[in-house]
């Protein structure tokens, strides 16, 4: 569906975004309280945050729709926003793909795509609308009106329209959230393909950690108005900065443990301690993170793991998620286990849980 050969023409040469100490408040309500972030040239960075965390506001400041109260935005080495001046959105050269696509309803698909390209330039470059539409897999639909397209098609037109101005940066504001689940993953991978093979710098905002981790080169988690953690998806998943971040980035079992040198003693048995470069090291009482896929369930009770009772089994096809109520006096929180394929353990069955791999640990809070 995506034709990489046509793409290199659409990326411009000067790219890269740097945001420094950005502040923004609406009235008395502070939304951004010092966001700093840099997006490497040609990468796709996802900003992940719960709704109301200020991620859309950040995007709108970068696009130039809102002024920042403090801080700078630098695009391709040029400052586009600081305390003294702000470049208007039309002079920034930033492509913007809003949540609902926001296609111009009174213009055809082709006219939508070429809206940002001046007539003179259009002639010089040839009919770029057709080429862009082909690129996003919508060849031949240029004569249609937005309302004649499906939601996924509208989203792709919105992307083609943003790319038509050869932007230094593309901003995507929850571009897949209005699509239904089946369509979402296919549109998502198409968009990812277009951006990646074009070498286009892109910043994507989402509240869906699955989406952020699967699509982006870099993920920045925003919470309480600042970037809580920033890094490659796997890094973030394996080395969250604190327990709350661990839980936000995916299903997490946080259990009481003891750290002794390079070993962690968990209810599931002793595990190797994973070095966490972003948190301070600890020893003694700790909270350990064991992801559901690290856990193994067994119905033979050997006594080496944590015993519990199965309370719920969710079958997802590719894997099964089992919730177990632990027979423990220390931790009462249910344990989540993810196992590949179908695992037939009836509810109420007594089981024993052991763990594989290594565990991350943070010092236990006093009290």
């Amino acid at each position: 569906m995506v034709r990489p050969a046509a793409l290199s023409r659409w990326s411009s040469h000067v790219t890269g975004l740097r945001i420094t100490d950005l502040h923004k408040a609406f009235g008395s309500q502070a939304v951004l309280t010092g966001v700093s972030l840099s997006v490497p040239e040609g990468s796709l960075t996802a900003i992940l945050g719960p709704s109301g965390s200020g991620k859309t506001t950040l995007l709108r400041v970068v696009a130039g729709f809102e002024r920042a109260d403090r801080g700078t935005v630098e695009l391709g080495g040029r400052i586009v926003e600081d305390a003294d001046h702000a470049l208007p959105p039309e002079q920034r050269g930033i492509g913007y793909v809003p949540q609902e696509g926001s296609l111009f309803p009174h213009l055809t698909v082709a006219a939508n795509v070429s809206f940002g390209v001046q007539r003179a330039k259009r002639k010089k470059l040839g009919s770029n609308a057709d080429e862009l539409l082909e690129m996003v897999g919508l060849a031949g639909l240029g004569g249609r009106y937005p309302h004649q397209l499906s939601g996924g098609q509208q989203q792709r037109v919105a992307l083609a329209r943003a790319l038509a101005i050869r932007p230094a940066l593309v901003l995507l504001d929850e571009p897949f959230s209005s699509l239904d689940a089946g369509l979402r993953s296919s549109v998502r991978s198409d968009v990812q393909g277009v951006l990646r093979s074009g070498g286009i710098t892109a910043l994507l905002v989402t509240h869906d950690q699955d989406e952020a981790l699967s699509i982006a080169d870099q993920v920045a988690v925003i919470r309480n108005g600042i970037i809580g953690q920033h890094g490659a998806p796997q890094d973030l998943y394996d080395h969250p900065v604190d327990p709350a971040m661990a839980r936000f980035l995916g299903d997490a079992n946080l259990v009481t443990a003891t750290v002794d040198g390079e070993r962690v003693t968990t209810p599931f048995g002793p595990l190797a301690l994973r070095i966490n470069p972003v948190a301070r090291s600890c020893s003694g009482p700790a909270v350990a993170l064991v992801r559901p896929e690290q856990l193994v369930l067994s119905t033979t009770l050997s006594g080496s793991g944590l015993r519990g009772v199965v309370v719920r089994t969710e079958f997802h096809g590719h894997d099964t998620v089992i919730t177990v109520d632990p027979r423990s006096t220390v931790d009462a929180a249910p344990i989540t286990i993810r196992a590949e394929g179908d695992l037939a353990v009836p509810d109420g069955c007594e089981v024993e849980i052991t763990a594989e791999g290594s565990a991350l640990a943070w010092p236990a809070r006093a009290g």
């Binding site: 609406f26 009235g27 859309t56 506001t57 709108r60 696009a63 130039g64 729709f65 809102e66 002024r67 208007p88 959105p89 039309e90 002079q91 920034r92 050269g93 930033i94 492509g95 913007y96 809003p98 609902e100 926001s102 111009f104 309803p105 009174h106 809206f115 940002g116 937005p146 309302h147 919105a158 329209r161 943003a162 038509a164 101005i165």
Partner: protein
Amino acid sequence: MSLAATTEADLLGPIDVAAPPRTRRPLVLWLLAILVAALLALPLVYVVVQAAQTGWSEIVQLVFRRFTLTLLWNTIRLSAVVTAACAVIGTAAAWLVEQTDLPGRRFWAVAVVLPVAIPDFVIGFGWVSVVPAVHGFFGAVLVMTLALYPLIYLPVAASFRGSDPGQEEVARSLGLSRLETFRRVTLAQARPALLGGCVLVSLALLAEYGAFEILRYQTLTTEIFFESQRSYNIPVASSLSLILVVVSFAVLGGEALARGKGRVTRTTRAIRARNVHRLGRATAAALAGLTALVVLALGVPIGVIIYWLVRGGSTTLPASTSLVGAALTTAGYAAAAGGLATLLALPVVLLTVRHPRRSTATLERGTFVIQAVPGLIIALALVFFSIRAVQPLYLSPPLLIVGYSIMFFPLALVAVRTSVAQAPLALEDVARSLGRRRVVVWWRIVLPLVGPGLAAAFCLVFLSTVTELTLTLVMVPTGVQTLATQFWAYTSGLSYAAAAPYAGIMIAIAVLPSYILGRWFDRLPSRAGRLT
């Protein structure tokens, strides 16, 4: 009477609050909107000033005269009976056209609405000039019901069209009978529209002058007109004005109370076919009823106009030059009023739609209150202020046009609001990020999307102005004739044949905008659906 198919319920409907807040303070918009609000407040200021000048004790004395109470009773009992009759007829017609397998529903959908384009006083003239027995209370009930039921039909039919057919099915599956389902689900969904329509009917009745004068039925408005224009008894006129305004506001407030806190929404977005109830053996009765309605409301006035045109012959018909002159004057005033009212509505709408806050919503509600102020009071207020403050404007065309614009401001507000909602700010943001300057964005994105709605606002005010009589009679510049004033002059002299061509042209001019509007309102829901 006006084509106010959309009521306050629609006007104050949900606006997009999900959009992130914006920091830029719209100072210029605020300033303009406040100026508009101040202009619209003039009539109420006038009523208060007049009452203060008259003095409280004198007002109390005048209000509790037997005559005043008779006028009040006349006004209220007529309003109650006509509103009830219109509610029944309008709802029944809407249900037949929108929810049943009635043969020829497309024809009926047009025919049933058309009386809205005929001024009330022309319908009154149509009846009186052939059936002199039509007068007094029952004459007024007959004529006003025929003239005003479309104000109920339009919103209720629109609400039936937009209702979720699934809800009726669910009600039946929960064990409700057909009749119970109609009462508790179908009608309940149409309730805000019905209430809004009833308010429009009541306010139109309170403000009506021409038809009641023809029918020789005395109400507060006819008496205010007489006292202020004929016998120049200002204390009486102002105390009656005070009562009239209080009653009108009571109607508006009563609707707010009756509407309550419940919200009528459909939870599903899925577009489903409309409900089609089978009429079966009742088809003949339904057809007979609608035919009778259309013959009485549309056939009689139009037939009478044609009858007088034919019977009058060339001797009694007015010179064609005076006809053309009056038509051109009327069209000119109406076009100016349409343009001005649309312009006045713009800042208020831009402020409320694009900066949704409690303060802006309050301002908008405030301006909407003008719909409860009868045209006669607006006219008296403008004449009053022009004599005291801006003498050169007294009885001048600009002042008349301002009068029309104030009177029909709510119509423009509703239409402009719908159209501005068609061009969300997100589109402008995107367009600017694509490298286009603000001016280009306005020209290529905002105007094409908002334009049709602005045209609709213009048409609504235009056609209402063409058929307006009361305010025109008070404010028309000396020596100037409009279609309505000429018609009025001839009917007052019982020269029915001479009056007929003016009525004919008035209706002809009003029908075209009505048709355009009908098409626009018809397309609106589907278009909005496509955009989301």
